[in-house]
Amino acid sequence: MNIVKQLMAIPGVIAAGEYAFRGDRFSYEGALTDEFARMASILCRANTLSVNMESEIFDSFAENCGCRPVQGWIAHGGQVTVCAVGNYFAFIENRPELLNDVMTIMRAKVGDVRDDLLVNLYARLGGDTKEALY
């Protein structure tokens, strides 16, 4: 079972999806329209790149301090929380224990994000990602 389907099987998960590096290729399940899923993919990609940039700055001050490479981020809203790990995202309700469960599953299923985030995000497109990027 793929990661998105596994996440959607958990009660309280509103929507989940996967996006590619450019933010314009995505797949999703749940309570989003195609357009909203496209917007969510772009938003998640932008935030992921932003926090990675920040971690590179930390790393330049304290090498191997344990932050880099960033694995994901969480935006905790009033009733809804957005979780992003690697190139996957999930919109979840704020229910007891759900956030911890979803993060545990996403970290376990996505695996550790490798050093090169761009290659990691681009890899889902297939082909020679190194050649496509550089």
Binding site: F58, G66, Q71, A75, G77, Q79, P96, R107
Partner: protein, 112 residues
């Protein structure tokens, strides 16, 4: 703000407070951690930026999609390789990933 209480959270490696512009104001570091006050200061500045961006996105998302529940923003976390920083308001906690309880940490920061 009781930083010692924050250090009782599962996996807590550091707790800190910062000004509205991200200047580090107070901090507690667990002995043996590789984090330094300088890194915490940078972290605090990035946290202010991340909270502002997430707040803007929540506001924009609700306005564009008509969906609700994203506002008010009650915190933001960056999940690193070994540790995560969880922040809300003017306080943050760095927690070791393998022991992290994100819900408890968000709740503690909200109550602080």
């Amino acid at each position: 703000m009781n930083l010692d209480k924050m250090m009782d959270l599962p996996g807590a490696m550091a707790a800190f407070t910062y000004s509205d512009i991200g200047d580090l104001q107070s901090h507690v570091l667990r002995e043996g951690t590789e984090l330094t006050p300088q890194v915490l200061d940078l972290l605090a500045h990035s946290c202010v930026a991340n909270l502002a961006i997430a707040r803007m996105e929540a506001r924009g998302w609700e306005a564009v999609t008509g969906q609700s529940g994203f506002q008010p923003l009650k915190g933001f976390s960056v999940v690193g390789l070994e540790w995560s920083v969880v922040v809300n308001g003017n306080c943050g906690v760095v927690v070791r990933n393998r022991d992290a309880d994100y819900e408890a940490t968000f709740n503690a920061l909200q109550a602080a």
